[in-house]
Subunit: 181 residues, 2 copies
DNA sequence: AACTCATCTGACCGATCGGTCAGCGTCTGA
DNA sequence: TCAGACGCTGACCGATCGGTCAGATGAGTT
């Protein structure tokens, strides 16, 4: 029955990604994942230390890209920051739609965990950039509407082609965001 | 120890609303609610048939208003529908911020339940109205960004005064939504 | 005093969760 | 040939979940 390492390992990652995206992280049990793969729950926990480690592996690429965007954002202000944030975040959201979907609604909980704590700071800096670093509530509210709206919309439109979703999102963001004074 | 009916009953509703808004529906146990009230879990289940019934009582006012908005929307098309949807939904979202917060991320699950099934149809009609009844993907994507963004933002800004949040949301919606052709 | 009835509770239930562990075959290199 | 590593599993664990139930309490009525 024993297969090569990478085989079952990767099958678990794929199945977990699919199940998480449909029923969420909390809503998916290790048993569910094992059933989808066709192995035992113990096998899942043989390949991954625990459920959180499995999520970590799935999220790693998205987080890397997010951190890179955050780094690019560091040197920018005003309209330039807005543009970098817009293009960078829309790109990221479209590309990692599945990862966003699996976090749906569990963001508040997950951000509490130390492993994801810095994500909160990054998203705050993103809101900041969308708002053109203005501290006026009107600008910050618009920024959050845009940020949250993109994330949710990407999670919803899983099957639409990338090059249809991306320009539509860019268009709505550019209209919605408050122009810098 | 026995108190008047309405007292404990209402205390449970208040405590449940608060706990749900912080830790979500699934993330809040009946034990949590009982502890917050200062009674036993069995008492919670004496006053409410089950956990779902408790949620139903909390959501009822918001759902009534949502249904009323849906009814008002029925006769409208194009730009008129956009305007009714915008003002109606922003108003609703601001007013029922707490109720939206407690549904955060559990919308997909809850909509499966027959008791909330019609909500899905209503929200689809809302997206339709925001899109000015256009079926162009660009318009529908913008509509969903706006709808989801408002909901999430309202849940986030729980403490800001209504008359600061409402005009800011109206402003961003009017910019973001695709103008009808 | 005896009875009724709403309120409330501790003890308990089956189900499910994430996670542990001893041990099962099988493959491989010395 | 054989020891050990590897992939995998069933049985089990403690915790927690939503929910049930018989019975205690106490106030009001007769």
């Amino acid at each position: 029955m024993a297969r090569a390492v990478s085989e079952t390992h990767d099958e678990i990652l794929i199945a977990a990604s699919r199940r998480f995206a449909v029923t969420g992280y909390k809503g998916t049990s290790l048993q569910d994942i094992a059933r989808a793969v066709g192995c035992s729950k113990a096998t899942v926990l043989y390949h991954f230390a625990n459920k959180e480690a499995l999520l970590g592996k799935l999220m790693a690429p998205a987080i890397t890209v997010l951190e890179a965007l955050d780094a690019r954002l560091a040197g920018q202000t005003g309209a330039a920051a807005q543009q970098v944030a817009t293009e960078g975040f829309v790109d990221l959201a479209v590309r990692f739609r599945r990862e966003i979907a699996l976090l749906r609604g569990e963001f508040p909980d997950l951000l509490q965990q130390p492993a994801f704590a810095h994500i909160q700071q990054i998203s705050e800096r993103l809101v900041d950039a969308f708002a053109g670093h203005s501290d006026r509530p009107v600008a910050r509210i618009a920024a959050l509407v845009v940020l949250a709206g993109i994330a949710e919309t990407c999670a919803e439109f899983i099957d639409i082609p990338d090059d249809e979703l991306r320009p539509a999102l860019l268009a709505v963001v550019r209209r919605a965001v408050e122009p810098v004074s």
